[in-house]
Homo-oligomer: 130 residues x 2
DNA sequence: TCAACAGGTTAGAATAATTCTAAACTAGAT
DNA sequence: ATCTAGTTTAGAATTATTCTAACCTGTTGA
């Protein structure tokens, strides 16, 4: 499935900018990136796109489930092309995230969910350093 | 141990402002708060302190281990008086964090740490909703 | 006791990530 | 070809946090 179809599937008009981003991002590989790094990649390919558009597009992509947004480690929002449930290593030397497949982690004990609430997902972050 | 002693223990001069904050914060209870919420508490007590000083102090407190800093869910930095290793529920309706004692969580399986790295802690976040 | 000074506080400016505004543009429908 | 809702964009606005630089204060030791 090409990127135009992928965009149509989720009811997003395949504009020049969205196609550009989708080609960069939705190539089947799992990646973590920021709005700025994506813009640099695009610009260094000789193409151009404004940062506002990148935020608009990435936020749309998140809202339709093409991307996940990771709010961790402060400052900058990281986007994740791996939208299935998974965990992360955090390389504390670089800030880089590395995916952990969910079946790599098992629990022998978990706490009771507070009364009146239900679980909405368990995320494990393993901080690593050199 | 009173707050002046606590500050002296970590080589911080017990200034008026640090004492004020330490009394609010280091009362033995586990809390999560932001710089803004602490300032509001102080001001509503009739005392005054600038936001710059609150950031200065809280950052110092973190660097000497009196507080932990939690960079999660974007935007605002949350400070945590529970400096021992623990996990969190995240109430997605309110953004509130609730402590989970580490012995409430057990692992039956954990992934290999990438080559050349060592683990620097495992953090579990259980997202909950009403 | 108190001068000296290193360290601390502060208002306001600066910074930086992200969102907003509003004008110009375009994909898709008819 | 025309129309319109949706999209893009530059630049302004917003917001959390840090910086600047002037003023203040805790501590020390003469
Ligand atoms: Mn931060
Ligand atoms: Mn965010
Ligand atoms: Zn990931
Ligand atoms: Zn906590």
């Amino acid at each position: 499935m090409n990127v135009v179809e992928k965009l149509r599937n989720v009811n997003l008009r395949p504009t020049k900018q969205r196609i550009l981003l989708a080609k960069q991002i939705l190539d089947g590989k799992n990646k973590h990136f920021t709005a700025e790094t994506i813009q640099k990649e695009v610009l260094s390919n000789g193409q151009s796109i404004s940062l506002a558009t990148i935020y608009n597009c990435l936020n749309k992509f998140v809202s339709v489930g093409l991307l996940k947004q990771i709010d961790q480690q402060g400052e900058v929002t990281i986007f994740d092309t791996n939208v299935s449930h998974h965990h992360h290593f955090l390389n504390q030397n670089t800030g880089e995230l590395i995916d952990i497949d969910p079946d790599e982690i098992g629990f022998s004990k978990l706490p009771d969910i507070p009364n009146g609430f239900e679980s909405d997902g368990v995320e494990v972050l393993i901080k690593i350093k050199e």
